[in-house]
């Protein structure tokens, strides 16, 4: 199992020629300050319950020009399976509670169409503007890649940069290189207010 650093790129299928199905897991924890307001007084009066922070993982299936060729190539909680059937989203975790992966995406490498060259895994905060939330309120964000055949964790990237003020994370990508698949630990972040704005970067 390799712990990746930002910018690192590793091979998936060249050293693992039998690798066919992956599970990409994304996870995060809310910090104590996930509330959009209230602050000290609210906590002192026992109001304490922090506003839930709803992070959504999505996958953009991009062509060799880095573009989303059709809307259905965006896999997210409202479109859980890609048209080619190669990508399946596990469903929406609304609170982030629980250890381990908060959302999981199944990838069948052999079913990915020839025109799809990159699978970009992103996380954005649902209703971040209304709720006044940003990734400074999240800790322990990670993306990991597991071999579905034997549950072996191939690599994990802990996103440890300071993402305060940012509302969308471009966590990592699975991409074609020559005739193999590789994984890149991206860990970039933007202030896009929602998935639609984030997706527009790839149109």
């Amino acid at each position: 199992m390799i712990n990746l650093q930002k910018g690192q790129k590793i091979d998936l299928t060249k050293t693992n020629p039998n690798l066919a199905k992956l599970m990409v897991g994304l996870g995060w924890d809310a910090t104590e300050n996930s509330g959009g307001g209230g602050g000290l007084l609210k906590n002192l009066l026992g109001g304490g319950s922090k506003t839930e922070i709803d992070c959504d993982a999505s996958v953009l299936l991009l062509n060799d020009k880095g573009k989303l060729a059709k809307n259905e190539n965006l896999v997210y909680f409202g479109n859980k399976t890609s048209p080619c059937g190669s990508i399946r989203h596990s469903g929406d975790n609304i609170t982030g509670h629980g250890d381990g992966d908060d959302e999981q995406i199944q990838v069948d490498l052999n079913r990915i169409p020839k025109d799809v060259h990159r699978l970009v895994f992103v996380v954005n905060i649902y209703k971040c503007v209304d709720r006044k939330q940003h990734f400074g309120m999240i800790k322990n964000a990670f993306i990991r890649v597991v071999n579905s055949a034997n549950n072996e964790e191939l690599c994990k990237f802990n996103l440890s940069d300071n993402y305060a003020g940012k509302t969308a994370l471009i966590a990592g990508e699975v991409y074609r290189h020559n005739n193999d698949w590789k994984f890149a630990a991206l860990g970039e972040a933007t202030t896009d207010p929602g998935l639609e704005a984030l997706t527009r970067r790839y149109l």
Partner: protein, 192 residues
């Protein structure tokens, strides 16, 4: 057109008696994410004697010293962001003018301020270094820096060295850390 693999050594002048000029080209794209630092990659060269040392500061070609005293090794100038299509920086070498006491020329690429900016080659889009026969345009070697050196911040791309009266080429391709000061120290120069 010869395409080299890492670690491969080839003859330059023995089989190409007319070969006199080599161009090293370095290219990359600007940072596509706001809020991060620009990526500033630098091409540098060391003129190394037979003891493996650069003879004085004049033998270190970089943004503050663009030409060696003989004028045979010439650096194009510093591109600090990757703006522009094609090679962003280049070093041209005229083999026939290289002084006799220079035994090899080491060509290196370094990310400026990589440690303070927390950058590595993997984060830089489309970063590459190539070496071209400047007279024919044939590309001898190209390294995709972002793919094969993703966690590195510097690398020794190639060495052009004398061998029995001819020039040969070694596609070294080895990474290094610690910036230009630490690289210069390996060639016997102290940071200034």
């Amino acid at each position: 057109m010869i395409s080299l693999a890492k670690g491969q050594k080839i003859d330059l002048t023995k089989t190409n008696p007319g070969l006199t000029k080599i161009m090293v080209g370095l290219g990359w794209d600007t940072n596509k994410y706001d809020g991060g630092h620009a990526f500033d990659l630098d091409a540098v060269a060391f003129l190394v004697n037979k003891d493996g040392k650069a003879d004085g500061d004049g033998a270190f070609i970089f943004y503050n010293n663009k030409q060696d005293p003989s004028g045979s090794v010439v650096y194009s100038g510093d591109n600090r962001t990757g703006e522009g299509v094609g090679d962003d920086e280049s070093i041209k070498i005229n083999l026939t003018g290289v002084p006799a006491d220079v035994d090899k020329i080491a060509i290196c690429i370094n990310i400026h301020d990589a440690d303070t900016r927390s950058q590595n080659f993997g984060q830089v889009s489309n970063a590459y270094v190539r070496v071209v026969n400047d007279e024919t345009g044939a590309e001898l070697m190209r390294y995709d820096l972002g793919e094969d050196y993703s966690v590195e911040t510097g690398m020794v791309a190639a060495e052009i060295y004398r061998h029995s009266g001819e020039w040969k080429f070694n596609a070294v391709g080895s990474g290094f850390q610690g910036g230009l000061a630490s690289l210069a120290a390996t060639y016997g120069l102290s940071a200034s």
